[in-house]
């Protein structure tokens, strides 16, 4: 039996074959996405007019084929992957921090503070987000900051609710009472006792939140609100590919498969993490 609780969870995770496979798949996807430019000589922007809408083949290293404008799909797919994963990671991290802070404070302090904070979350949840994004885009212009801000706006609300729920469930536990009786300030209690004890389930939800964020970004990009030309994200690529489905199905295939693999393995990993943390701690 391992000495620490994280160690125990890691051991259980390793024993879960589905989760292990998911980790492998993710590792491969990430490596490919990062290494793609080195693997293929084509650049993202070069338009190869001689091979417009080319089916996948070995000539000119167009392994995934080319799109309507002659751009190499291999390189574009992985650039899209990098964009989507970056958004998922960065926006995920920001959502996590915001949600963690908000939820832990609301859950621990309770009373009027909690009431007010929860009403804020409810109001924000009720806003039609897509219209908001459109509104912002119109005002500020198409901007990656607007994209990131919109995506974070989606993620942090759910995270805040989850963290608050977890905080409520440990707030009455005896070691929190002991900390209060020991003279610890609320800040100290939230930082040193609440946060470390909710991180387990929170880590699980964070892993499940990343695919949602990536999907949302893809959705925005699909609508034309997110990543703009000549940059690609999986969403824009899929939007392109969807339009060419009958004539050149491969334009959709590569980004679609990549996105599917990415989302599935993140979800499987998230499930595995939840099972790993769910077991009663020894003792």
């Amino acid at each position: 039996m391992s000495a620490t609780l994280w160690g125990g969870a890691a051991a259980r995770l390793r024993a879960n074959s589905a989760a292990r496979a998911a980790i492998w798949v993710l590792a491969i996807l990430v490596t490919l996405a990062l290494a793609a430019p080195a693997l293929n000589p084509n650049s993202v922007e070069t338009l190869d007019w001689s091979r417009v809408a080319y089916a996948p083949g070995w000539s000119h290293a167009h392994w995934f084929g080319t799109d309507r404008l002659g751009r190499d799909l291999f390189v574009r797919t992985f650039e899209g992957a990098r964009t989507s994963m970056a958004v998922g990671l960065v926006a995920g991290a920001v959502s996590l921090s915001l949600g963690l802070g908000f939820g832990a404070v609301a859950g621990y302090l309770g009373g009027r503070t909690d009431y007010l904070m929860m009403r804020i979350i409810e109001i924000l949840s009720g806003l039609p987000l897509v219209f908001f994004v459109i509104f912002l885009t119109v005002i500020i212009g198409r901007n990656s900051y607007v994209l990131y801000a919109s995506v974070v706006a989606v993620g942090w609300l759910t995270m805040a609710r989850i963290v608050r729920g977890q905080t409520l469930s440990i707030r009455r536990r005896e070691f929190i009472e002991a900390a209060v009786a020991g003279g610890a300030s609320p800040v100290r209690i939230i930082w040193k006792h609440v946060v470390p004890n909710v991180l387990g389930p929170v880590a699980v939800y964070a892993t499940l939140m990343v695919p949602q964020i990536i999907l949302f970004e893809s959705f925005l990009s699909f609508l034309g609100l997110g990543t703009q030309e000549p940059h690609a994200s999986l969403g824009t690529l899929i939007a392109e590919g969807a339009g060419e489905m009958e004539a050149a199905p491969w334009i959709l295939l590569a980004p679609g498969i990549f996105l599917a693999l990415l989302l599935v393995s993140l979800n499987v990993l998230g499930d595995g993490l939840r099972d790993a943390f769910d077991v009663r701690e020894p003792g």
Binding site: T4, L5, F175, A178, G183, A184, P196, N197, E281
Partner: protein, 272 residues
């Protein structure tokens, strides 16, 4: 018995309400410095609620709790937290009262970080090691986590944590009730030693009359939120006055009575 010294703790008219009824009803008592006051009662008597109210872990509806001259019920925020240094508690469930994500060393360092923040890392380490030895644990355990220890060892850690700020009054809320009978004596003797060596006063709460009898100077009996009897320990056990006290004493299955063929045991009906 006169009280020449000023009382360490003076409780007057304390009332704690819970779902409309009084869990603690008009309770008043004193604790002198270095004294061990036992508090006996069964479930629903309000004894644990009383301890929590003294520590402001639950709100009190009425009354005063005067600790070294200051009414704790009127303190707030930083002033209250400062006063907690001298009034610590040992809980009933030893494992639950320790943060599972913190090592023993971190758990014991916390009181020092709160009340003596100027202490350097080495000084901290030395104080932690000293306290661990005092409660009968090896200094090496500082790197381990609560779930690696038995119930009795966890309780030693809990006692060590409570004693770190050198409190003048230690509340013990059923500290041995969840431990094996064969281990209870170890912990009670430890508390007894600490009390003698450091002069700490104690409010020792338990439903276990034999343990209370062993440790206390005076004993209060609590029933349905009220104190029904207070007496010196020898008097209470030799000549209990209140009917409830007598029922309590009669109900304890005593091996010495099992050895002699028993008559029909006294049965008082206190069912709700």
């Amino acid at each position: 018995m006169t009280q020449p010294r000023e009382s360490l703790l003076e409780v007057r008219g304390l009332r704690v309400e819970f779902e409309g009824r009084a869990a603690v009803d008009d309770v008043s008592f004193d604790i002198a410095p270095g004294e061990v006051l036992g508090l006996v009662g069964e479930s629903g008597s309000g004894k644990s609620t009383l301890a929590r109210a003294l520590l402001r872990l639950v709100p009190a509806a009425r009354g005063t709790v005067s600790f070294r001259g200051t009414d704790l019920l009127r303190c707030t925020g930083k002033a209250l937290r400062r006063r907690r240094r001298d009034l610590q508690i040992v809980f009933q469930d030893p494992l639950a009262s320790l943060d599972p994500r913190m090592s023993v060393g971190e758990i014991l360092a916390e009181p020092l970080e709160i009340f003596e923040p100027a202490l350097g890392a080495r000084e901290q380490g030395a104080r932690i090691a000293e306290m661990l030895e005092r409660v009968g644990l090896a200094p090496q355990v500082a790197g381990r986590y609560p779930h690696e220890f038995s119930g009795g060892q966890c309780q030693r850690i809990g006692i060590a944590r409570a004693m770190m700020p050198s409190p003048q009054l230690l509340l013990c809320d059923e500290p041995v009730s969840s431990l094996d009978v064969s281990i209870q004596g170890q912990i009670v003797n430890l508390l007894s030693d600490l009390q003698r060596d450091l002069g700490t006063a104690m409010l020792f709460i338990s439903h276990n009359l034999a343990v209370v009898r062993h440790l206390s100077d005076r004993v209060m009996v609590m029933y349905a939120g009220r104190i029904v009897e207070t007496a010196g320990v020898s008097e209470l056990f030799a000549a209990p006055v209140h009917a409830y006290t007598r029922a309590l004493l009669a109900a304890v299955p005593d091996l010495s009575t099992a050895l002699c063929p028993p008559g029909e045991p006294l049965v008082y009906s206190y069912e709700r």
